[in-house]
Symmetry: D3
Subunit: 332 residues, 6 copies
């Protein structure tokens, strides 16, 4: 597949023989009675509505919902948004399709990020019990495979493959720099808490051909899932060492996880009651919200406005301009 | 110990040689320089402040904070509340003390209640997996010992030994009568969910010599604890049967537990998303809140008012009068 | 009219000479200048948008907004939703139209439900004053006619003809089974309160050819209306008996009505301050919310999703799967 | 009774033979074993705690709780608050007691205020139906007697005898001046709505020897009471005129009453949905809140602070200084 | 330009050579492959979608987005809303265009309103310092030019040119009539506070060719802007008089501005803590909300409904009927 | 003054000739008629209630409220709290009193902290305009004198002399380490925003002999004050440079200040709408809340509890134990 993606399509542009993921399709009748197909095509950068005039029932059935297909056609503008007019189509050779072209993905190197994360955790954590608990997670290969791939959210911030890892690593890097400024904080706990605070998202979310909540995720939530897993891993350590895992250590880490949302209305069953839990809560928000704003600005498509659209999660629009430049509208 | 309890003390009454739990003690100086002791005594029915005039440092040290002691003295009124004037004291023979006289306790028979609860669960639940999960809890003797003794709360409703069992049994009895009116609801899930919804309180609360939150309880909460235990018991069943425990069944019960508070601001990490979870949420509230009002009325000490004190949990006073009588003040 | 309803229409299906209620109509110009009609047709099961190509002004005027008409045409898919292409139309013979085909209706027998409700109220209520008050309502034939027909809501739960009666009866049945478990609760008051808690909806809502709020309903609300009516009926009883109706009884029932929403933000002018009022509040919610979830599941049209759409009233999607089956997506 | 009131007492002042209302009394033991009486005395300006040393059981019984008695003694300071040391007491001659000395009362003339209120209502209201409804209230002598005496609240603003009348008249005067600036508003409805918006307080509150909520008031609230009464008066008008009272008029006034609290969390069952209801809501708040602040300032006893105490109802302290003077603390 | 405006267009009406502001334009392909233009046209009364069939790329480019153009065509109905079919177009002579035809404008005379406002402020304010501060604003000609033109809001109440002046003047008129009823309130402060409470909107909003928030307005808000300006003007007075401007006066006025929203959730950094600030808060709301409801009613287009659409700002629909007429639906 | 402070007093300890600040005094009568003095004494570590038996009016008048005095006496326990029994007193030599012993003060070196803060700001900020604005503040000596001395709050976190500087410096140190991890964030703006976000507290709070809100602070708040000052300083820069200060820069910094509270309910007039403002909001909270918990733990006096008292600001108690130790109560 070429490097041309939907987000780059220009009105009037001719598209030749390009593979898309078909998200949805409909067979409809025009006003003069002939059939046409309406579909939604997508790749990792965007979705685009598509129409094929003079279609047949047979062509319609040929198109695979949720599958890949090659399309030819042209892009045009419709009510201020792009739309794709299909003029030809054909089967896509599975061998030629790279799934990662169809879900948004971090632009950082996943292997490098994971190596760095593992290095921080194995080097910086000194307490033997915390270390064993963290190692039990790092040694769970199936889980780590998911952890490297999962997004941090379905939408909002870090909503791309590798996003969870990127967010988590970012937090560890910050903690390494900031926590030593608070000598009474226990760095081991903060690092372990940051590593595990969102790890339940690996099962709360699905991210094979789309980003969505799994049944388990919707029913229990990533906070509860991670808490259960910490229990499980503590027993795993006990089996390894033949000694009781200290309850205080387990509860300290679990408390960070159950309280990291910081407010009841965000689904936190408990509020942060240790300095380490409080630190994790605000570090998490710092990275999540700053990225949210940066991603809002980067993703905004309207070059004429100084502001992004209103975002209900932060109850405001975001100002896109370089504030040290001279681009601001004084209104006078 | 006689059947006379603090709640029954009358102003002017003489008390002879009675055992109390000493909750607190202070040695103070009167205005003319002599020493006196101020203490708080308690039994299962109430607490009472006490004073001993003409005390000595030695007597003061003789009194065990958090322990039992025999007292003689008289009851009087102080600022509208009773107070106890100590005139004599002595060691209490441990053999003569029944701890259950010093924490409030259900007035129903705990053994009978537990037998009935076990009967309902083992008879009414039909699904083999749900049954196995519930049995794994019923077979955990240490846990069931705590379950029979635990209060349902530190204060508010069912705040007495056996209260958790009484509340849980009451819910099962209601469910048996109500759920069959909704044929689409799964009775097995509702019964299992009701049985387990508050079982985490056995570890969230301490109830040996007082009712309080444990560290574990304050850090994690009974909702999270119960969810972890369900996971544990499911693995226990797997070990017994040699077969994978069906995840759907486990999640269904866990979802009832994590959502049973029904509102985020009450610490629910998830809101009820199955009809069974919704039913458990409202049945739980029905029994808890109706009992709360009945207990408020029963516990009210002011015979001159038609209303109890304002209760912040329900944002109202409670009307104590027999509403079908003629005792109401029309205000005209 | 045959038993074929809009909810059953399949894409591609040919519909012959079927009566619909016309909810809305428009005359429009196609891109090549010819006129067409866009309309919305409905019956008790659903609404469907419709188009008639090559229409005339005369045909347009012939169609009665808010009236009945026979249509012929075919059903097709448009943007994932069904649409009806009109190919012929004609007047509907009023004699052939059954209005109950055009508003959703309970599938239970209204006469049987009302007989049962009357039996419970007249048999179970023992207090003479409560009985007289309830009888005054039961004897108001015009009101009872509306009570048998009214829905319990415009949408959400029990939003169908007979829904108010069905919801009320369901609550009485539950109360009969549950209240005796609380010997200190007054069953008479609970039954009267449940009977009357939503009776104001008979005037708050209109339900002749559609479900909507009446002016009176929108201005005053069913809570206030019912409270006024209880006053009226108490005076009616006084006129019959020649004796003053006891104020305490009247206020007890009125308090249940004014407080049954249970929270200020739901428009309750007072919060439940008697155990009976608290019981009515939670019983009402139990039946309303459990039915809401069951109806959400039953009404969901998307067979591919395990979840219904997000419902803002309960702040969640609803899980549709049989939780004791094996249909759950573990996400791993 | 002289013009000396509790609010004027100075530390060290000797009080001779003055009548107080006894709000509360206790018999207690001093540290050296002798008895003393602790009591709370009050008049319309304030309450004061009192102590009588070397008391006897007989003297204690002689003092009437909730009744009047003559006291002699001296005022002193205790923990920054005044306290009264009783040195003598005796029966109070009922003939010499003016009850209005013992509940706070408006300093305006009640008769004049009521005459003015009646004049405004009977002169300014033009619509015959609104006029008849208002007259039915004005003609209810028992109600008007209570209306002239009732306070507008138990505490907060206008919490004195005549306060309801004063608040209501103040609103009518404002409306006469303001509403003509909005020609599309119906002055008749606004005047009737203002007259009746709080009239339920005549029965919601008791104000014979203290200000408190009646049972009826606590159970139903003044909003619901007034709505019921409007219904009653409308039927009264019908009986007089022999014609149906127009429902629209009745609902318009009732809507103003049910919505005048303006927000659900303040117990409004409906929010203002007509311009007249909205006007009444804000006029009511304007007068209530401005008076609340003025009364806070007037009632503040601490001459050293520029601010009153924090008032939770308005979520702030109130600034007491003359803001155009030079008394402000710049903090620099 | 004739007096015909978009709000008056009737379906079927022919429009000849009329100037519109082009808000948006699109070039699209019809189902049979020919091009057409979709645009949105507007004037001060409304917006209307427009279509031009058989268009060309050249015509499309000829149309100026955000500029004026003459159009000929006919009006028709589309999905219940009007749409304009363009049959001809041409350049608009700038000299013939009156910008005030394209933004909604007060129907009162701006010069007369401003003269009256100035008269009130200069005549009624007695305190020399307050007067100087107010004069400093009145003498700022550039600011007063904007003040006369600015709307009071982008939408909701007074959202038209001159709306800010009209709202402010209305408040001054009310204050002149109402404040003297409260002799303890300082009229000077209230008048100054009302004059300045929203003056920051002159820079918070843009209102040249559309109503929108400026960058400055969105970043800082009108409350903060006005507070800064008062500081500036106070220094200006100091420069004129050569004397320190009394801080108490400045803070008194600034406090009114910072607190006039009255509730934190509406962006008030402080809550009203002086009687004058409280008065300004409620007077402001009175005028704003009554006008909001009147404008909702006046702007409602659906003649068949007794109610406007739901308005989230006031959480209700508005009742449009003459409540003293007989038009109300009793629902029975 | 010796190094003995109130916080170190032990029950039974004899205190000789020590200087205290007298916060409050009362002259009272004992039950046997003799006079005694009740007072509250304080130093920078704590307050203690005090009693002097057998006092005289003359001694009472000799004691200066709000002034310093030497006391001799002994410490004892009263209701679980310490109290001081005065046995002698005398004038304090002003020369011997160090005011900093009577208000809590940072334990870090103020000069060193300020030097470091200035170094960061002058070295790290690169943009010339931001630099000039920051310098204008740094060059304001009177302001910087207050900035070095001010606490960051009256209570809660950093409530000690030098606390504002310590909190601000801490934030700058964090920003230096964290912001470079977000290359798209403008470090200059973040540093300037952090420096100025709370600078208004220098005038919002008074901190000469106690910590309290000034009139100006209570009326306007530190957010508004800082915004005004930034305007002032920008004009100051303009006067120096002879060039217009770029509005975008000024607004960028002011936006950070007005939005740094992050939520309307905390008095933020605007919410963070730039990535830099969002970063400042969360960094500020991180440092404030982590310190709040650490200070809660450090200040807790009850050695027997694992938890501090409930803190309403964070809606929880704080866990005091070393979580990696073995001190936790499992509750089982």
């Amino acid at each position: 597949m070429s490097n041309l993606f939907i987000a780059d399509f220009q009105p009037g542009q001719q598209i030749e023989d390009k593979v898309f993921l078909v998200k949805q399709k409909d067979l409809r009748t025009t006003t003069n009675g002939s059939l046409y197909i309406h579909a939604v095509l997508m790749d990792k950068t965007a979705q685009i509505p598509a129409r094929m005039w003079q279609a047949t029932q047979k062509i319609y059935e040929f198109i695979p919902t949720g599958g890949f297909m090659r399309f030819t056609g042209r892009c045009e503008n419709y009510k201020g948004n792009p739309q794709f007019i299909i003029t030809g189509l054909g089967e896509a050779d599975p061998a030629s399709v790279d799934p990662s072209d169809f879900l948004p993905c971090t632009d950082r190197n996943i292997d490098e990020m994971f190596t760095r994360l593992r290095a921080i955790l194995t080097t910086e954590i000194k307490n033997a019990d915390v270390k064993r608990l963290v190692d039990a997670f790092l040694d769970d290969e199936a889980l780590m495979r998911r952890f490297r791939r999962a997004p941090a959210a379905v939408q909002l911030h870090h909503a791309y493959l590798g996003g969870l890892l990127q967010h988590t690593l970012s937090l560890l890097e910050i903690a390494l720099r900031v926590i030593p400024l608070y000598p009474k904080l226990n760095l081991d706990l903060v690092l372990a808490g940051l590593f595990l605070h969102d790890i339940g998202k690996t099962a709360e979310l699905g991210y094979e051909t789309s980003f969505h909540y799994t049944d388990q995720g919707q029913l229990l939530g990533h906070v509860t899932l991670a808490t259960i897993w910490i229990d499980e891993k503590a027993r795993h350590v006990e089996a390894q060492t033949g000694e009781a895992f200290p309850e205080g250590v387990k509860w300290a880490v679990q408390h960070i996880v159950v309280s990291h949302h910081g407010r009841y209305e965000f689904g936190a069953p408990k509020l942060p009651a240790s300095p380490e839990a409080m630190a994790v809560h605000y570090l998490d928000n710092l990275d999540a919200k700053v990225n949210l704003l940066l991603e809002q600005i980067a993703g905004d498509r309207d070059p004429e406005s100084h502001w992004t659209r209103y975002n209900p999660g932060i109850e405001t629009k975001v100002f896109k301009m370089d504030m040290l430049g001279n681009q601001i509208d004084s209104g006078v």
